[in-house]
Symmetry: C2
Subunit: 252 residues, 2 copies
């Protein structure tokens, strides 16, 4: 599925963008929204290398629409911080190591706040319905642990979004979701090994159980460790990837 997603420095000779016909391509919505969704997936999944220029005409032909919806999609992605303007056009944004650290720290801040707000304000209660649904999902996964797969990051994002949502602050959750999207590309590397998958599943269950039991302190610590461990792995891999790139970079 994501076979070439992990870039050698850049994309294969092809057009670098997946054709239409994929799952989320359901044309129920306007072309603007469809192009936005598709293009966002392309960028987030890493299928578009940051050195690939996102030319309007090319994308328009690729998606089979005119430039108008493409332009609006790019404008929105720009506001989302997922593409950036450089010299003459738009390019996929890929955080460097320092930015990655910053984003991860922001992520931790938001994740932990989702728990600590219930510690400070006793009237705040994590939504047990949401939590129980998550618990069920992850216990199923524990019974049948999936193999290493970068797309596991999507399940992971959903878990963290759900926990945040259960805490009841919509703005907090939206912000977290946005941040997690921006680091998805790199966070995918966190799930290339079986043991990382396994510990993720275990830790998710632990956090959820603590929250359901009202053991906020434990939940907080567990979440802290959980995200911290992830950060360690991801940053280390990113560091190595950058080194590799530096070594192999042909002239740039």
């Amino acid at each position: 599925m994501y076979t070439e997603a992990v870039p050698a420095p850049e994309a294969p000779p092809g057009d670098g963008v997946r054709r239409a016909g994929d799952p989320e391509a359901a044309t129920a919505t306007s072309r603007r929204d469809r192009v936005y969704a598709l293009l966002r997936e392309e960028v987030l999944s890493g299928r578009i290398a940051p050195r690939v220029r996102l030319g309007e005409v090319r994308l328009a032909e690729l998606f089979g629409v005119s430039r108008t919806p493409v332009r609006e999609a790019l404008a929105r992605l720009h506001s989302d911080g997922l593409v950036e303007r450089r010299e003459n056009g738009f390019y996929a944004t890929v955080p460097n190591l320092a930015e990655l650290r910053d984003l991860y720290e922001l992520r931790v801040t938001l994740e932990l706040r989702g728990i600590s707000r219930a510690m400070e304000d006793p009237s705040v209660r994590h939504d047990p319905g949401v939590l129980r649904a998550e618990l069920e999902r992850w216990e199923k996964l524990r019974a049948d642990v999936p193999g290493p797969d970068p797309s596991f990051v999507l399940l992971d994002e959903e878990f963290h979004a759900a926990v945040s949502r259960a805490s009841g602050n919509r703005a907090l959750t939206d912000s977290l979701v946005s941040v997690n999207r921006r680091i998805r590309r790199v966070r995918m590397y966190d799930f290339l090994t079986a043991d990382r998958i396994t510990s993720t599943v275990t830790e998710h269950i632990g956090i959820t159980e603590h929250l359901l039991a009202g053991e906020l302190d434990s939940a907080y610590r567990a979440m802290h460790e959980h995200v911290g461990a992830s950060m360690e792995v991801v940053l280390e891999r990113a560091r190595r990837a950058l080194t590799q790139m530096a070594l192999h970079s042909d002239a740039l």
Copy 2:
């Protein structure tokens, strides 16, 4: 035409949107960016009531451009969370009381993290240059305290952005700036009284001095109280405003 578009509670009888020719209207950039900036100001300042429909053609005529730049500006504002899609078009987003509380909590979280990150990681040091510049600004203001003025909120936002920036996490700062923008419209009400202006000036100076002195604990507490006090005032005023509106709302 849109005669009844501007609702009773606010805005002068005019068209509801300021004409071009204002400060930031300098046409150095593209029309897309100009329209985006102008429209954003209109929305953030509260000059556009949430019940005013942001029709493309009307805005295009108003700004003297075609619909194309307007559409892109709206798309960006939508991603920024500053306008929202309702029924048939875009409308200015105005947080309700619950959302406001959520946003304020997010703000507090981000503000405090800007300080606590230096407490946890001794290698993090608040940029003294930035802080000293702020200190100077605010000491000048203390020597000559301005009168009550909603636009004081802009100075306030700049201060908090600067403190966050001094802490060195760009993602954190960007997020904070975005959140503060979204609550600007309501936060303006925080600066309608002389004593709120005065205490704001005093507290800003206090926070900055603590940070410069490396008294992170005190700075943290001061910031906590400072933003907490602001929240109290703003939420209370918002509550009253909503009540007023409910009372005066003609049928709706």
